[in-house]
Symmetry: C2
Subunit: 315 residues, 2 copies
């Protein structure tokens, strides 16, 4: 049984590499299984512990995740390594449970319109799926962590603006259903830091002693600013992808998760120790370039390197 406090300690920030799932939604060429394993192992060597490893969605629609069971095993073999897999329905949940993955994630769309367009179901049906996921977790021998993310929580590719009251209503239903924590996602990168801070504070308050995840895309260059505000507002789990790889097939233009390397620098600069070596992390970009030569990699740290701190000064 995975205890959430071991995986996501409340006295520090946990940074999750989501490149192996969210990052692969739109890439032109899929990395090989061995490439994914090298990517993960080398990032683990740099200090990263949390990896979204793939999804249990139909392999004919998402062939990039056909090897998800192997990737689950790879991360489980690394001491302290934590794998997360995405599921959207009961079949996927059962497959995820059978794989032994340490955490199962699911998604509820913030708007009825996006829920129907993205998953052909109502938000109520999505919440019922969250409840079913929690029941299956409770009946499972290894009881993985379960989280539900509210996608389009800060702006929707179909409706435009999103009412934060609707998001909070869905967060409450997910918590009532029994998830270990909820996340909010700026899936299409519509938000600025004020909006992110306001919503994060409300979700943190509602979540009580459960951690809160904020999943941001850098679509409009606000990713790091939004992450900074999310940290100020009490979020302690943040997602990013190496080189900013990523996107969403249901959200045109939503390219780019927050750049993981820059996220590490941000956290360290704010006094949150991450245990991650930025220079080692940057060197892993070579694997992405070799496996997916057609993808643009982003990032300030990779371009400029770490600041040269010749002297240290007490603040």
């Amino acid at each position: 049984m995975t205890r959430i406090q071991d995986v996501y300690p409340d006295n520090r920030v946990s940074l999750r590499e989501v490149g192996l799932r969210d990052g692969l939604q739109l890439v032109k060429k899929f990395p090989s299984t061995a490439g994914k394993q090298r990517w993960m192992r080398d990032e683990y060597g740099a200090g990263v512990r949390h990896f979204e490893v793939g999804s249990f969605l139909p392999a004919n629609t998402f062939p990039q995740f056909v090897d998800v069971r192997e990737i689950v095993k790879t991360i489980a073999s690394l001491p302290g390594g934590h794998g997360i897999a995405l599921t959207l329905n009961e079949r996927g949940v059962n497959e995820a449970l059978a794989s032994g993955v340490a955490e199962i994630a699911t998604v509820v769309s913030a708007t009825e319109e996006h829920s129907q367009a993205n998953a052909r179901r109502s938000r109520e049906q999505a919440i019922a799926n969250v409840k079913r996921l929690c029941d299956l977790r409770d009946a499972s021998p290894h009881r993985p962590i379960v989280n539900a993310a509210i996608s389009m929580a800060l702006g929707c590719s179909i409706t435009g603006a999103v009412d934060p009251k609707e998001v909070l209503m869905l967060v409450e239903k997910c918590l009532e259903a029994g998830v270990d924590f909820v996340g909010i996602a700026d899936t299409v990168g519509y938000a600025g830091p004020k909006q992110v801070g306001d919503l994060t504070r409300a979700v943190v308050k509602m979540s009580g002693n459960k951690p809160v995840c904020v999943h941001l895309h850098d679509t409009r260059g606000m990713g790091i600013a939004n992450a900074s505000t999310a940290l100020d507002a009490g979020a302690r789990i943040l997602d990013g992808s190496l080189g900013g790889l990523g996107g969403c097939p249901f959200a045109p233009g939503a390219t780019g998760n927050v750049v993981f390397e820059d996220l590490v620098f941000l956290c360290e600069s704010k006094g949150f120790a991450t245990g991650i070596d930025i220079e080692k992390l940057i060197s892993v970009r070579g694997i992405l370039r070799a496996e997916m030569p057609g993808e643009t990699l982003y990032g300030g740290l990779a371009r400029a390197g770490l600041p040269d701190r010749k002297t240290s000064v007490a603040a």
Copy 2:
């Protein structure tokens, strides 16, 4: 006589396009005078009012600013347009005064080491230059606005870390010398938002009813996050350049001012009206591409466009 409250109203944020000066420090090909004028006029058409137009440094060292007097005239011809020119010594100040430019900027390095390396003078001599600039302003018929920026205020390319107490000492001396306002510059993009917020708050407090400018580089992807915190800390003048053009010849790797378009989006998202039309602003990038085809332009808004706000929701 220019009244500072007219140029930099304290109840709103003023965004300054510094691409025509700071942005041209390191470019491979200089834009033509006509190109600069189109760039400025089209940004003016998008709502931008504050432009750093060039510097009065020796034209044999900085040939990209040989046409600074013409550019000063161009911005002065546009109603409400405000030009700023950089000077580093008395000769430059006299030339700037003679040009009729509305604002004269100067720089004091935060560290003795950078002051000597960059301008071959001590910080004390730089402060004496600020005082001389203020005296010459007072004796001039049109009394331009005068500002002094502390460069390397958040990290130094030579010494590494910078003691904020040293920066505040220099800020105090500049204010005593009679500048209309001071700025702090993260010239080499070393800082994260916590450091920027802490220093900005202290400078805002010290500046009393004078505005404070924060000049940021996006070297390590922290530019927008730092700008957001600077606004929270009370800065009301922020610098940026279209497409993130920029750098500093004395700070290797310090490429890229904060992207102006993204800065506008940030301010608007935080409720600060800028009067700038982002889509018109983005279209001006075509002039930069035509005039300087070898430069990489950055920016999230230019890549993704504005969010599609189909519905509006009361917060």
